[in-house]
């Protein structure tokens, strides 16, 4: 099909930029570890969350120097455990699931933003360099008390 000369230039520039952009995204995702949270094959029976390890004991445990593991359960309308506290500079590995409907897990002021699905286990890690009280909220509509669903992480 014949294309106008100017249109060829226009599309050429556009497609080149697109290819470059996708190459950067792909490199970041697959060789620099900056991929969206995509764990799977870590399923848990949503009816038995409270009896299934590690979700039978939600909480935060130290696993190394300034390195913590937080096991969390999202439910309508809150998170377990209710409060998390770590020293500044700590890295937290979050492991979580939902014991009822779909929830969100967003830490305001960070790039932590993921979905929590019943039956699936979500993982994400973040290093909290700045002290403060970080707001964690549910950003996926989950029912009538959705706007009250939140918790905090205190970084000292």
């Amino acid at each position: 099909m014949h294309l106008h000369r100017l249109e060829k230039t226009w599309l050429g520039i556009g497609i080149t930029m697109l290819a470059l952009f996708l190459a950067i995204l792909g490199t970041m995702a697959f060789s620099m570890g900056m991929a969206p949270p995509s764990e799977h094959h870590h399923t848990v029976d949503p009816r038995k969350v409270a009896e299934t390890a590690p979700f039978d004991r939600p909480g935060i445990t130290q696993v190394g120097d300034k390195h913590y593991e937080a096991v969390m359960v999202a439910y309508a309308f809150g998170y377990e455990p209710e409060k998390l506290e770590v020293p500044a500079g700590s890295k937290i590995d979050f492991t979580m699931t939902s014991s009822d409907v779909v929830h969100g897990f967003e830490i305001v002021g960070t790039n932590i933003n993921l979905m929590v699905l019943p039956g699936e286990v979500s993982h994400i890690s973040h290093t909290f360099d700045q002290p403060g009280e970080y707001l964690i909220l549910c950003n996926e509509y989950c029912g009538t008390g959705h706007e009250y669903m939140k918790t905090t992480i205190v970084v000292k």
């Binding site: 099909m1 294309l3 106008h4 100017l6 249109e7 226009w10 599309l11 556009g14 497609i15 697109l18 952009f21 996708l22 995204l25 792909g26 970041m28 995702a29 697959f30 991929a35 969206p36 949270p37 995509s38 764990e39 799977h40 870590h42 848990v44 029976d45 949503p46 009816r47 309308f77 009822d100 409907v101 779909v102 969100g104 967003e106 305001v108 002021g109 790039n111 932590i112 933003n113 993921l114 979905m115 699905l117 019943p118 039956g119 699936e120 286990v121 979500s122 993982h123 707001l135 909220l137 549910c138 950003n139 509509y141 989950c142 029912g143 009538t144 959705h146 706007e147 939140k150 905090t152």
Partner: protein, 544 residues
């Protein structure tokens, strides 16, 4: 005098258009209230829930207003360009589709307003609504299929009677739009009929959540192209005629539509980037496929401005931008869609951010996303549809647009743009700051970060109020169009520029394009789906 539009077909078109604007009015009232609640300006009486309103707003605006208007508009163009009237079979399918969809809509609205389905228009399992909500959705989808079959029927008969001839551009584009709709709605139909209806009636006790979300988004992204393509039909086919110019290239217009058919479906994972249960490779693959639609979008932008510039130069415009001055700025039939085109530039750029794999974490489920689709569907598409109404209603009812209504139309367009600036602008900014979408008024226990969002929420409420004035004005204009003076309005269909190349025939070889579309879908979805079938299931919950 012979009417310029078949009167029987006109009734079918008008029925769709009026239903659409009725949905816009009711959805607009819900939207106004939501904005005021979220801005902390009003509190709802105890018997009205925020999320009921949100569900009604989403369903009525995103599903009902759009689908009815689109089907009415496509039938009008198909009737006009494929023989001047619908065949009895096509017209009958159009009316049957209309009745089935309307039955679904009425049932759905009753269930939503009675508080039995506050699950929003995405109805994510395992939130379990009343089974009648899902039945209502199924009726709307099945009705839209019947309407689609009517258009296919008209098109096939025309081609059989005009062997070897190129079909009219409008009809070709209508067929692409509805083909995409048929292929995409298979996903949501499977979700609703196979998973949700048996589960909500209690015939099965659990539902595969990851699978249901995937089937929904297999449909959910093409849905946005189903809104957009009819607006593109107006831009490609109607606008050149209204400005007194020619279509830049018939072949490129068709190629762009074929590319939309191929690349708007196998891309649903970019709505699921932040969730578990889907491998990172498959997410990235669908991100790449998503971005392929940038190519036809760039082609469309080029064609539009080429049409404007060629038209201006033909009228003697000088200088680099002199052609801008000769555009009919005071004609609402041009001005409203043109503002839609302008808004589509930032809207499209925002969409690229949303689909950018890991970058989605910054904006996922924040008000940024709400701001984004209020630019795309609620401005680019809605303003184009409004612009269409100013000639479509007079054409099908045998009336004429008066200068007064034209002026009111220009005002309505400006009101809409100002309202959207105040609403969507703050939504984008406060979304980047983290404020979640789909959330009633809250300060999260007066958390300092959430308090900082409040001024933006107030601005959104002001913008929403201005937009509601815009809704009232367009509804008034539609009613006034129905009472406009009698006369004949010609259906504006553009002609192709003489210099344009002939259209290659392979663009109309449907088996090839449908085959490629299906192959791409199978490529993008088969392995992840096999994986999902092995996933666990969840019981249902009523959390509202």
């Amino acid at each position: 005098m012979i009417p310029t539009f078949d009167r029987k077909d006109g009734k079918l078109v008008l029925a769709h258009v009026l239903f659409a604007f009725a949905a816009l009015l009711v959805g607009g009232i819900a939207g106004l209230l939501q904005g005021l609640v979220r801005g902390g300006m009003v509190t709802l009486p105890a018997n009205i829930g925020y999320y009921e309103l949100l569900t009604a707003h989403g369903v009525l605006m995103a599903l009902i207003f759009t689908t009815y208007f689109i089907i009415g508009f496509l039938y009008s163009g198909v009737s006009h360009t494929l023989g001047g009237q619908l065949r009895p079979a096509a017209r009958k399918l159009g009316w049957t589709g209309y009745l089935v969809m309307s039955a679904g809509t009425v049932l759905g609205v009753i269930v939503i307003l009675s508080g039995k389905a506050s699950v929003l228009y995405t109805f994510y399992a395992p939130m379990k609504a009343s089974p009648w909500f899902y039945v209502a959705l199924a009726l709307v989808v099945v009705g839209s299929w019947l309407s689609g079959f009517g258009v296919f029927c008209q098109y096939r008969r025309w081609r059989r009677e005009h062997r070897g001839k190129l079909s009219p551009l409008f009809a070709f584009m209508a067929v692409v739009t509805l083909l995409m709709w048929q292929i995409a709605t298979i996903g949501v139909a499977a979700e609703v009929v196979v998973q949700l209806i048996p589960w909500s009636f209690g015939w099965v006790d659990s539902v595969n959540v990851v699978l249901s979300r995937t089937l929904f988004w297999y449909f959910g992204h093409p849905l946005v192209y189903f809104w957009l393509l009819p607006a593109y039909i107006c831009w490609y086919v109607v606008i050149p005629k209204i400005i007194g110019g020619k279509i830049f290239s018939d072949a490129l217009a068709r190629l762009a539509f074929i590319l939309f058919l191929l690349f708007s479906i196998p891309v649903g994972f970019h709505h699921q980037l932040m969730e578990p249960g889907i491998g990172g490779f498959w997410k990235f693959l669908q991100v790449v496929l998503t971005f392929m639609v940038i190519i036809p979008s760039l082609m469309t932008a080029f064609s539009m401005f080429a049409t404007f510039e060629m038209n201006g130069r033909a009228k003697g415009a000088k200088g680099l931008f002199g052609w801008l001055r000769v555009l009919p700025w005071k004609d609402v039939r041009f001005f409203a869609p043109f503002m839609g085109m302008l808004v589509f530039i930032p809207a499209g750029a925002g969409g690229i951010v949303n689909a950018s794999n890991q970058m989605n974490a910054v904006v996922h489920n924040t008000l940024w996303v709400t701001g984004h689709f209020h630019l795309t569907v609620a401005t680019s598409v809605a303003l184009t549809f409004f612009g269409i109404a100013y000639w479509l209603i007079p054409t099908v009812t045998g009336r004429v647009l008066t200068p007064r209504l034209n002026r009111l139309g220009i005002i309505q367009t400006l009101v809409w743009c100002v309202g959207m600036l105040f609403m969507s602008g703050p939504m984008h900014i406060v979304g980047l700051m983290g404020s979640p979408r789909r959330t009633a008024y809250t300060t999260y226990g007066d958390h300092p970060d959430a308090i900082l969002w409040m001024p933006y929420h107030v601005a959104m409420a002001i913008g929403g109020t201005i937009l509601f004035a815009g809704v009232l004005l367009i509804v008034y204009n539609v009613i006034a169009l129905m009472r406009a003076p009698k006369g004949e309005t010609v259906y504006p269909i553009g002609e192709v520029a003489e210099a344009a190349e002939a259209t290659p025939r392979y663009l109309e070889r449907w088996s090839v394009w449908i085959g490629i579309a299906v192959a791409l879908i199978l490529f993008a979805y088969t392995i992840p789906l096999i994986d999902m079938f092995r996933g666990v299931t969840s019981p249902g919950f009523v959390t509202w």
